[in-house]
Symmetry: C2
Subunit: 353 residues, 2 copies
C-alpha cells in the first residue's frame, strides 16, 4: 500500500528510503559497478516498494546514450511493413535497443517531419524505407552521426547503409518469366505511381522486360485508396471488359491480385492456361485462396533482420562500420496462376533418349 505520488519519484526518494546514496542506487538499478549484495537487496526492495520507475530522460541526457532505434516507414496497413517490423524486433529483442516507429504515409514532406521529430530524441540509429528523400531529410541523415540504414530498395545511392532488393530487377524478372511462359497480351494493374517509388521501379523493370521481347503492354490501370481486394476485383472486371483478348494480368501487389483472381475464378476463366495472373509480395495471408497466386517474395522479414543487425553491430562499444550494402534476391513463386516456363535444354541433353 503506497500512496499515489503527486510528483513522480526520483532516485533521491529511493536513496532516502534505502539509506544509500543516489549514486549507489543508480549503480544498482543499472547493474553497473561493484555493489555489495546487502546494499543491492536493500535498494531493490526500496525501489520496488515505492514503485519507482527510472527517468530515462534524465538518464539519457546525462549519459548521452539512448537505446532507441527510429524506424520510419510509409504505412502499417498493407501487410508489408508489419513483416519488416517483425524482423527488426526479432533482432533488437536480443539487444538493449528498442524500435520506435514513425509513419510517413508515402509523403516525403511527412517523412522529413517525422525524421526531424525522431532525431530530436537522439536515437542510436535510424532505419527508413526507400532511397528517395527530400534534400533536407538527406542532410539531416548525413549529419546525424548515427548509423542510418535505408531499406527495401537498392536501386539508388544510400546515405549510409542499405538493405533490400532491386525492384527494377524484380519487375524485369517477372516480365521475363511471363514472356518465357508464352503469354503475350499483358495487362497491368497497380497503385498510383508517384506515391510509391518501389512500385514504380517494378513497373519500369517489367515494361522493359516485355519491350525486350517485343511486347507492348496491352492495357493498364492505376488506383488509389479503398479496399485492395475490392479494387482488384473492380479493376480486373473493367479491364477484361475493355480488353478481352488479354492473356496475362500483372498486379503491383498481392492484395489486388487476390481480388482479381477471385473475380476470374468466378467467371470461370481457365487459369493459368488461357489467362495467367501474378502479384507481388508473397503475402502469406492469401495462401487460403482457392488457387495460389503467382508472386515474388520481397524478402521483407529478412530485410528487417539485416537492417537491425547492422544497427546493432555498430552500436556496440567502439564498433566501426558504415556503408554496408545488402542486396537480397527475391524468387518467383509460380503458384497456380502462372505457367512454368519450359525447362531450358540441358547443357549436354541427350536429345535422342
Amino acid at each position: 500500500m503506497t500512496i499515489p505520488p503527486r510528483r513522480p519519484l526520483t532516485l533521491r526518494d529511493v536513496s532516502e528510503a534505502s539509506g544509500v546514496s543516489e549514486m549507489t542506487v543508480s549503480r544498482v538499478l543499472r547493474n553497473r559497478g561493484d555493489v555489495s549484495d546487502k546494499t543491492r537487496a536493500r535498494v531493490l526492495d526500496a525501489a520496488k516498494a515505492l514503485g519507482y520507475v527510472p527517468n530515462k530522460i534524465a538518464g539519457a541526457l546525462a549519459s548521452q546514450r539512448v537505446n532507441l532505434v527510429a524506424v520510419i516507414i510509409p504505412s502499417m496497413s498493407n501487410m508489408v511493413f508489419p513483416e519488416v517490423m517483425m524482423g527488426i524486433s526479432e533482432v533488437l529483442d536480443d539487444t538493449e535497443l528498442q524500435p520506435v516507429v514513425g509513419l510517413t504515409h508515402y509523403r516525403a514532406e511527412r517523412e522529413e517531419a517525422v525524421l526531424y521529430e525522431m532525431l530530436s530524441w537522439r536515437p542510436a540509429g535510424v532505419i527508413l524505407a526507400g532511397l528517395e528523400h527530400t534534400d533536407a531529410a538527406r542532410a539531416m541523415l548525413a549529419n546525424a552521426g548515427i548509423p542510418i540504414v535505408e531499406i527495401m530498395d537498392v536501386d539508388g545511392e544510400p546515405v549510409d547503409a542499405m538493405v533490400g532488393i532491386s525492384h527494377r530487377r524484380a519487375g524485369r524478372t517477372m516480365g521475363e518469366a511471363i514472356v518465357q511462359a508464352g503469354y503475350s497480351r499483358v495487362g497491368f494493374m497497380g497503385t498510383k505511381m508517384p506515391l510509391d517509388h518501389r512500385a514504380r521501379k517494378r513497373f519500369e523493370g517489367f515494361t522493359q522486360a516485355l519491350a525486350r521481347a517485343g511486347i507492348e503492354m496491352a492495357d493498364r490501370e492505376f488506383y488509389a485508396g479503398g479496399s485492395a481486394l475490392v479494387k482488384g476485383r473492380e479493376m480486373t472486371a473493367a479491364m477484361m471488359d475493355r480488353t478481352p483478348e488479354l492473356d496475362f494480368l500483372y498486379y503491383s501487389n498481392d492484395m489486388i491480385g487476390a481480388g482479381g483472381l477471385l473475380y476470374c475464378l468466378e467467371r470461370g476463366c481457365d487459369i493459368p492456361d488461357s489467362l495467367g495472373l501474378a502479384g507481388f509480395n508473397g503475402v502469406n495471408l492469401l495462401r487460403g485462396l482457392p488457387k495460389h497466386l503467382a508472386t515474388m517474395d520481397a524478402c521483407r522479414h529478412e530485410i528487417g533482420r539485416r537492417a537491425a543487425e547492422i544497427i546493432a553491430a555498430r552500436t556496440i562499444q567502439g564498433a566501426q562500420g558504415g556503408g554496408e550494402v545488402v542486396v537480397l534476391e527475391p524468387e518467383i513463386t509460380f503458384g497456380d496462376t502462372l505457367r512454368r516456363p519450359p525447362d531450358p535444354p540441358l547443357p549436354f541433353a541427350e536429345v535422342d533418349a
Copy 2:
C-alpha cells in the same frame, strides 16, 4: 555546405552563430514569447544553415513535459490494431502529441515490461488494450500521474478511463441473432482463449445466448498461429467432416471466417439457407469476397479516436478529468451469410391489413 559535426549541435552553437542569447534562440525555435522579427529571422537562418536539430531530451527534462503518448497493444498483424492506430493518429495529428507504440504479443509479462520501459520516458498519457494486466502493471498505471485509457473492452474495472465495446455482449448479440434466424446446430471456431481475453468474453457471451435458447454448442475448435485464412479453411473442413449436421459456423474473427467461407463456397454449400456463417470485426479487407461474411463491427477506428480525444483533452493546460467511460455499441452486419431474423411484430400491427 556544412561540415558534418562530430558532436551534435547545441543551442549554444546556434546562439553563437546568430549572435543571440541561448534563451532567445530557444524562444524562437519554440515560437514562444515575444521576439522581434529581425531576431527571429536571424536565428532561423542560423539554425537552418547549421542543420540544428533540437535536443528534446534536454528540453523534456527542463520543461517536465513530453509530447509522447504511449500506445500499448498486442500486435500489429491482425488488422484490428492498425485501425485503432489510425483513429488515434487522426486525433493526435491535430495536437502536439505523438503516439509511440509498444507491442505485447498478448503476453501480460511482456505488457508489463513494455509499460515500464515506456513510462520511464514519462509520456503525457497511456492508451493500452484491455483491462487485464499484471498487478505490477496496474500499480504502475495507477501511480503514473498521467491520463490512462484502457481500450477495446469495457467488461471490467478500468484504472482510469476506458473506451470500448462489451465483448461479452457482442457475443451474446450474435448468438441471439443466430437463434432468432432459426439456426440451431452451431459450431464455433476461434483462437486459443487464454491469450485473448476479448475473444474469450465473446465466446462466453455467445455460449450464454445459445444456452438461454436451450441450444448447446455442437462443435468447437481452437487454433493458434499460422495464416488465418488457411486455418479457417482447414478447421472448417475438419469440422464439417466431423459434424456434418451443423447449420451455423461462428468464427472468432473475420479472417478465419473468410477462409471458412471460401471453403464452403467451393463445396457448393447453400449459404445462408442450409448453412450460415459469421465472423467478428468488420474487416473491410474482405469485402472483395464472393459473398459478404456476416460480422460485427468492433468500432476500432472510433475507439482509437475517442481514446486519443480523452488524452488530448486532459493534456491541455490545467484540464481536469478522470475516469471517463465510453461504451460503444457494435452492430451486426448480416451480409450474405446470415439470414435476417423475421421482423418482430409491430407494436400495434394491423394484423388484418
